[in-house]
């Protein structure tokens, strides 16, 4: 059951979390460089990453610090940049066993990131909290350390390595969305619509000024709503 300690689940989560951790290291390294410009120390960057575990959210927050914004602005910016996690948390609530305890829910909630959520939702029902803990264990520390390294070392890591590592995350996304798209034409349509609409907004003058976090929220809500109306899922899904 959901409550039982499972080292098997933990190990599988840890294994799947390793590529996430690699990608996180590269991304957070770049984030660290931005934080250094905002005046954060390596220790502060470490805790910023530990407490937030969110690339877009931390980047947005760093901009608030840089511009000497208010604490309220910091809260609002974090809320907007991370609003998609609210949706993901709703979605994950349907993917863990209904009897999962509050403590486990509070612990697994910490790790709702795009990538960890992606692999958690990819598990057969019900996802064990221990799978999530494994993924968090493998990826959260590289995220925090990468941030500190970015602050301390700036440009020591060769650009070519950073460039190569930076696609690890997207490779993972593909591994998550393509196989179900192959089996379900509605998912395929959602994926293609996601690619195209996101690309169109990126190159369209007015829309490209919307922050990427908000574009993700907007497109996700629109595309998932249309798909839900056009092709409602039957019992065995969701």
């Amino acid at each position: 059951m959901a409550e039982k300690i499972s080292t098997v689940e933990f190990k599988e989560g840890f294994r799947d979390g390793i590529p996430i951790g690699l990608g996180y290291f590269a991304v957070s390294f770049a984030l660290g460089i931005a934080m250094k410009n905002a005046g954060l120390t390596a220790l502060q960057g470490f805790f910023m990453s530990l407490f937030n575990l969110a690339s877009a959210g931390e980047y947005a927050g760093t901009q608030v610090i840089l511009s000497n914004g208010t604490y309220l602005q910091m809260a609002m910016m974090t809320l907007v940049a991370n609003a998609r996690y609210l949706l993901m948390s709703c979605s994950l609530s349907q993917h863990i066993h209904p009897s999962t305890s509050t403590a486990h829910r509070m612990a697994i909630g910490y790790g709702v990131t795009d990538e960890i959520f992606g692999i958690e939702i990819n598990r057969p029902l019900y996802t064990s909290p221990f799978y999530g803990y494994g993924a968090i264990a493998a990826s959260a520390l590289p995220w925090c350390i990468g941030t500190s390294f970015g602050i301390m070392m700036g440009n020591i890591l060769p650009a070519r390595i950073v460039s190569a590592l930076s696609v690890a995350l997207y490779g993972m996304f593909l591994a998550i969305i393509i196989p179900p798209a192959r089996k379900d034409m509605a998912v395929m349509a959602v994926v293609v619509a996601g690619f195209l609409s996101s690309w169109i907004l990126e190159i369209t003058p007015w829309f490209s000024s919307i922050s990427s976090g908000n574009r993700i929220i907007l497109l996700t809500v629109v595309i998932a709503s249309i798909a839900a109306i056009a092709k409602p899922v039957k019992e065995e899904h969701a």
Binding site: M74, L86, I108, G171, S198, L219
Partner: protein, 102 residues
């Protein structure tokens, strides 16, 4: 205003955590509404697709190496090669292509 960085960190951390934990702790039962169930089923695919493209092309130093990574990753994912294999193949593709293109 010159704020204390530690307070900024605590504020953002608190907001990030609350966003993630509220739905998980408040929604205890399976949702029966078909629209909501369907919506939540499609959310991850929509989000991940939106985040992948065109971002994968912009993440690398060279647009074409990112595009190549997208193709290689898509083909391997289609063949269900698994998450670590797909992710590392994308990295290797970019690394090799940028060695050649540079």
């Amino acid at each position: 205003m010159k704020g204390n960085i530690w307070i900024y960190i605590l504020v953002s951390g608190l907001v990030s955590y609350i966003i993630r934990v509220l739905p998980l702790t408040l929604i205890r039962k399976p949702i029966t509404n078909t629209f909501i169930r369907s919506f939540l089923y499609y959310v991850p695919y929509a989000t991940l697709a939106v985040m992948t493209f065109p971002a994968i092309m912009l993440a690398t130093d060279n647009v074409f190496s990112g595009l190549a990574a997208l193709l290689v990753g898509s083909v391997l994912a289609w063949k269900e090669k698994g998450l670590p294999a797909v992710a590392s193949a994308c990295c290797v593709t970019v690394f090799l292509l940028e060695l050649i293109l540079a």
